[in-house]
């Protein structure tokens, strides 16, 4: 389950422009890396263009899936993963990233006018270094997604509880044996007492 890239794309104007990105191409061979990176950027821009505001989509392409969520402000987030990555976690990550981005740069239209041709200007304006960090943490969806963490802890707790119940059953058996033994001891001690009493009562031994 791998997460390949996260993009924040502006899709209010066609053609869409990538505002912030973070890529992890370490799993590909050295010579393929740049082409794969370009392909992912192109794919992100294309999907963002074709998504209306307020819509979520998951698009499958060869062996990648691109999850895209477009917001009403005109920015869309795209996450490119492989097929096994759970969709829910991808959209959760998109929500989080886009919320942060829009609170940090609320007036994206003012900062990046639609007719600016150079992409270097946008990269200077919208710096979002946490994207790389998110990319790293979300590589393992079980660690990053809260719902999955809760589920995992609950499962562990259930296993522990099963073991506890087994040990309680063992304790029950041991208690049974203890009850028996203490009963036997009790009768034997009673006999002992009676014999001792009898000793004292009648015969005088010379």
């Amino acid at each position: 389950m791998k997460l390949f890239a996260i993009f924040v794309v502006r899709n209010k104007t066609q053609p869409a422009k990538a505002l912030a990105e973070a890529k992890d191409v370490s799993s590909f061979g050295f010579f393929q890396r740049s082409s794969v990176g370009e392909f992912m950027t192109f794919m992100a821009q294309t999907i963002a263009e074709r998504t209306k505001a307020g819509q979520r989509q998951s698009i499958e392409e060869s062996n990648y899936i691109g999850h895209v969520y477009a917001r009403t402000e005109g920015v869309a987030g795209v996450v490119i993963t492989d097929k096994d990555y759970p969709t829910r976690v991808a959209f959760g990550l998109l929500n989080k990233v886009l919320d942060e981005f829009t609170t940090r740069y609320p007036n994206i239209d003012r900062l990046v006018p639609s007719n600016s041709p150079s992409s270097s200007a946008t990269e200077q304006v919208c710096s979002y270094p946490e994207l790389q960090q998110y990319l790293v943490t979300y590589q393992d969806p079980k660690q990053a997604d809260t719902i999955m963490m809760v589920q995992r802890e609950l499962d562990e707790t259930k296993i522990i509880l099963h073991k506890t119940i087994e040990s309680v059953l063992e304790r029950g058996e041991k208690m049974e044996s203890l009850v028996e033994r203490s009963g036997e001891l009790s009768t034997q001690s009673r006999i002992f007492y009676k014999t001792a009493k009898k000793q004292n009562a009648c015969c005088v031994i010379s």
């Binding site: 209306k52 505001a53 307020g54 819509q55 979520r56 989509q57 998951s58 917001r71 009403t72 969709t87 829910r88 959209f91 929500n95 919320d99 609170t103 609320p106 719902i147 999955m148 809760v150 589920q151 609950l154 499962d155 707790t157 259930k158 509880l161 099963h162 506890t164 119940i165 309680v168 059953l169 304790r171 029950g172 208690m175 049974e176 203890l178 009850v179 203490s182 009963g183 001891l185 009790s186 001690s189 009673r190 002992f192 007492y193 014999t195 001792a196 009493k197 000793q199 004292n200 005088v204 031994i205 010379s206």
Partner: protein, 321 residues
């Protein structure tokens, strides 16, 4: 239906809170001017102290104005029930965040000013500035709490209207609209634009039937559009349901555990009673044995004495005869 009275009361309270904003605003603008006029001692010192003060006053008045505009937006939010609520909510949230930042900047500026000028700004002026900042912060906090109240009222009202509509509406419309309408009720912070459309469609469906075909088309389109986000939301809800069922199982397991332990409590009590019996018996037997031992040892001692006396008497008798 009856919640509109609560809305109006909130609006009245906001309005009464908004009015005192204006008076201190003008007072603060006047005070640096008065202070400039009053301390005419050293013009150089005057200019130096007056400029940072009026800057501070400017920033404070700006913040106050922003708070006022946010209050105005909040009033609009309270009045207009369904139309552009999500955008307004988002705008108000952003304004509040911005105001927070501005107040923090003002505080930093105040501290820098205090460390830079040192003696020239009097202690009272510093205190006054600090008080101004505190007052701005408290006002902002009051605004946010009013905002939260309005949002809660809005959810309650929407739920009430939804219940009302469910009583009177046909089931087909319900099925088409139920899911997109759920999202603004349950996910407050998401702002899908499709959420604002269905209520309007429902209203228009209630009123006039000639527009039904067009509205149905729009509805279907929105259902398709909402479908992909529905899928995501459905997956989330299934995940949370599975968590809920796991929790229920855990609860059952804990109950079983408690029951088993309480069953074993009876066995523990039996063991306790048995061991107490054993202890009593054994101590009793020990006492008996002690008695016997004493008896036995004492008897021998007596016997020895008696035997000695007999022997001595037999010896004396033989000696005599």
């Amino acid at each position: 239906m009856d919640r509109s009275a609560e809305f109006f009361s909130t609006v009245e309270s906001l309005r009464s809170r908004a009015q005192p904003h204006i008076a201190p605003d003008t007072r603060r603008l006047i005070s640096p001017i008065e202070q400039q006029q009053s301390c005419g001692l050293a013009p150089g010192l005057n200019a130096a102290t007056a400029r940072p003060k009026s800057e501070f006053a400017l920033m404070a008045s700006l913040i106050n104005r922003d708070i006022l505009t946010t209050a105005g937006k909040l009033q609009k939010l309270a009045r207009r029930k369904y139309l552009s609520l999500d955008e307004l909510i988002f705008i108000i949230k952003q304004d509040i965040a911005k105001l927070n930042k501005q107040i923090a900047q003002l505080q930093l500026y105040l501290r820098e000013q205090g460390s830079k000028s040192g003696i020239s700004t009097g202690k009272q002026v510093q205190e006054h500035n600090i008080n101004v900042v505190l007052m701005l912060q408290s006002r902002l906090a009051a605004q946010t709490s009013a905002f939260k109240d309005v949002l809660e009222l809005r959810t309650e009202n929407m739920k009430a209207t939804k219940d009302r509509r469910e009583q009177f509406m046909f089931t087909t419309h319900q099925q088409a609209d139920a899911f997109p309408r759920d999202s603004p009720l349950y996910n407050f912070d998401r702002r899908p634009s499709s959420s604002t459309n269905p209520p309007r469609d429902v209203l228009s469906l209630d009123l006039s039937t000639p527009f039904q075909n067009l509205q149905q088309q729009q509805q279907q389109e929105q259902v398709q559009l909402a479908d992909s986000s529905n899928q995501y939301l459905e997956s989330r809800s299934t995940a949370i349901e599975s968590i809920e069922s796991t929790l229920q199982e855990l609860g059952g397991i804990f109950q079983q555990l408690a029951q088993m332990v309480s069953e074993q409590r009876d066995m523990v009590q039996r063991i306790d009673a048995n061991t107490e019996d054993i202890e009593a018996n054994v101590t009793g037997a020990q006492t008996e044995l002690l008695k016997y031992y004493k008896y036995v040892s004492s008897n021998r001692w007596l016997m020895v004495k008696v035997f000695a006396v007999l022997v001595s008497s037999a010896v004396t008798m033989s000696v005599l005869s």
